[in-house]
């Protein structure tokens, strides 16, 4: 049974265009029999006018008509209908195959040669109306879907990226291949003012790639705010993604920490080389040294490479979508073109804008296949950075990261003569024993605290040089001098903090020692550890501590040192 009313509740209206009046009337009669309404036009021009005025659901079109033929009229009507699907059926006397072809090419949906049986026309009209119903249903669903996707994308990127530091400090650009991006760009300050920046690229793109972004950014932000080291953050993201992502999905990642002293440490697992650009030249490249995160249960190597940077230097991080963008000839953009842009970018110009405009010229309207992301970090931190964030080391631990929160902090500060009178090392150890009971690892903790404390006191406060210890005589002289300076000490201070967090089957201990001294060149020290025979009498302390601890970090020119140790089954 034909339906005279469409699903939308509107009556079906059919436009009949034919220059021969008896033909029009015959068709109108048939259409009426089917239960549909009709309107008439006697040439192509009229047909267009009627279409504009009445918006019919279907058109029956003659081919040859005066003023404007059916083929031209069809082209115009199809264009006006735009997104809407309005079936056009050509109804014509016998014509050659050429006419049929051009009718279909102009946008016609079907062809009916006169004379024909009533049922044939009826069947075609009903079938085409059914398709047009489906078409509008799909269009409606599609509009709804893309609206929802846009909304979800907004929510997600707000949740993930709204916490980033201002664009004036770190320039970020993200250009997704689809509504959802699998690239994640994160930046945040540590409590001591250091800046952490991370670029992540999840496998693939679109919604399935974007779902990991939330846990990633939460881990990054929570741990950065708590003052964790970049090494620990990367390790924790790896653990979290390992649990969360199905096999075959992973995150290529690069991460850096920039300090107020102008040093930057960088790690790359699976992204294109991170580049340090100085005066228009690439001076360092940090190649991927590790598989992407979420593949291996435990990271083999979270060694960050350390560099000194100048304020006008730029550190460039990018996703492979940049280098693998293709032009019409299917060539890849490649690093060679990127380097060209870097070298030609005039001083003071924004590097990201320069790369983007080169990329746009190269792709020349070709479809973007993968997410494109770029980050530039300058070689300096904004002055107000330190005041914006909490000044001291944040002694809290994220309960979410490590299970139920179970943390205590112990702190002592010694000034002047009390440095001579007491040693805080034993007190620290007894606090640890009292709270956590006996553990075989306390011996190593003792070693670490002793080494760090003595370093702070001898070199930081007393200003003794370890060079003195190079010869056996010097060794003795060193301790004489030490005793003398201690006795007359009336200023200077050393503070020692412990923070212990219980974890399943063990714990994590952060030891922090700060002295009032001028600091030392720790970069040089760390680099030269174990490398020279000269160091045999001195430097053993740091070397030892470095071997025992999971992480050892110096900051504030070396007058603050932090060591992190783990105990128990976890390590």
């Amino acid at each position: 049974m034909p339906q005279s009313v469409r699903a939308s509740g509107k009556e079906v209206l059919i436009l009949i265009a034919d220059d021969v009046a008896p033909n029009r009337e015959l068709l109108a009669h048939m259409v009426k029999n089917m239960g549909f309404e009709s309107i008439m036009a006697s040439n192509g021009h009229e047909a267009i006018e009627q279409f504009e005025r009445f918006r019919p659901d279907l058109v029956l079109m003659d081919i040859s008509m005066p003023v404007m033929n059916g083929i031209d009229a069809t082209r115009e009507i199809k264009q006006q209908a735009d997104e809407r699907f309005v079936p056009i059926v050509f109804v014509s006397a016998a014509v050659g195959p050429e006419a049929i072809r051009s009718a279909i090419e102009a946008g016609g949906d079907d062809f009916l040669q006169m004379p024909f049986p009533y049922e044939l026309l009826e069947g075609k009209i009903i079938a085409l109306l059914r398709i047009s119903e489906l078409y509008s249903e799909v269009a409606k669903l599609n509009a709804l879907r893309s609206h929802e996707a846009e909304l979800a994308e907004k929510l997600l990127s707000n949740a993930v990226e709204s916490g980033n530091v201002p664009n004036s400090q770190v320039r970020m650009h993200k250009q997704p291949a689809e509504t959802f991006s699998g690239d994640v760009l994160l930046s945040a300050y540590r409590p001591n003012g250091d800046l952490n920046v991370l670029l992540g690229d999840f496998t693939g793109h679109g919604l399935t790639a974007a779902v990991g972004a939330l846990p990633l950014s939460e881990t990054f932000r929570a741990m950065t705010a708590k003052g964790y080291e970049a090494e620990e953050i990367v390790a924790q993201i790896n653990r979290k993604l390992g649990q969360l992502l199905p096999t075959g999905k992973f995150l290529a990642t690069a991460m850096l920490t920039l300090t107020a002293e102008g040093t930057v440490k960088i790690w790359n697992g699976g992204l294109p080389d991170v580049l340090i650009v100085s005066k228009g030249k690439v001076v360092h490249r940090i190649a991927s040294s590790h598989p992407p995160l979420g593949i291996l249960k435990k990271l083999n190597d979270t060694h960050f490479q350390l560099f000194k940077v100048e304020p006008e230097d730029r550190i460039l991080m990018l996703s492979d979508g940049v280098l693998e963008a293709v032009n019409a000839q299917d060539e890849q953009y490649s690093e060679a073109r990127l380097i060209d842009v870097i070298e030609q970018c005039p001083k003071g110009f924004d590097l990201i804008s320069a790369i983007l405009s080169s990329l746009q010229n190269f792709m020349h309207g070709q479809v973007q296949r993968d997410d494109i992301s770029l980050i530039t970090v300058p070689g300096w931190l904004e002055n107000n950075t330190l005041e914006q964030v909490k000044p001291a080391y944040a002694f809290e631990v994220d309960s979410e990261e490590e299970g139920i929160l179970d943390t205590w902090t112990w702190h002592i500060e010694l000034q002047g003569q009390s440095l001579h009178r007491t040693s805080p090392v034993a007190q620290a150890l007894s606090r640890l024993q009292e709270s956590e009971g006996p553990r075989p690892e306390w011996q190593q903790v003792f070693t670490v605290i002793t080494e760090l404390y003595v370093n702070a006191l001898d070199h930081g406060v007393l200003g003794l040089s370890s060079n003195m210890k190079r010869t056996p005589e010097g060794f003795a002289r060193y301790f004489d001098e030490r005793e003398k300076r201690l006795q007359s000490l009336d200023s200077g201070k050393v503070s020692l903090s412990l923070q212990h967090t219980r974890m399943p089957g063990g714990g994590r201990l952060v030891i922090r020692v700060e002295d009032s001294g001028k600091g030392f060149d720790y970069d040089w020290w760390l680099k030269n550890l174990n490398q020279s025979a000269e160091r045999q009498f001195s430097g053993r302390g740091i070397s030892l501590v470095k071997n025992i601890c999971e992480y050892l970090t110096f900051s504030h020119n070396g007058s603050v040192v932090e060591a992190v140790m783990y105990f128990g089954d976890k390590h």
């Binding site: 496998t203 096999t247 999905k249 290529a252 697992g269 991927s288 598989p291 593949i295 291996l296």
Partner: protein, 101 residues
């Protein structure tokens, strides 16, 4: 055919991948090994013909490795061309999969 399988003997299987090693091969690649349940099977992925490889192909290799690990077997990536070596190197797959030139 973009993925073909050759059974060398009862413990050695060679999976030959076509020019574009990407998500479009997902199903075919999976079919190539999913039925193999013989313990200790060595899966050799012949990459000689692959000109390009994307990150979803890396994911497909990880899935194959998971399958091989379950069987106590292993995965060997063989004869990758320069472009593909570059991608494997950036991802540091040599740290846990054997790559033969």
């Amino acid at each position: 055919m973009t993925v073909s399988v050759r059974q060398v003997d009862d413990k050695n299987i060679v999976i030959v991948v076509g020019e574009q090693f990407d998500y479009s091969l997902h199903q075919a690649f999976r079919n190539a090994y999913a039925q193999v349940q013989k313990p200790g099977t060595v899966f050799r992925v012949d990459l000689a013909r692959a000109k390009h490889m994307d990150s979803s192909a890396l994911g497909m290799i990880l899935l194959l490795k998971e399958h091989a690990d379950k069987l106590g077997g292993r995965v060997i990536l063989s004869k990758p061309a320069e472009n593909v070596v570059k991608i494997l190197t950036i991802a540091n797959f040599n740290q846990f999969v054997t790559i033969e030139s």
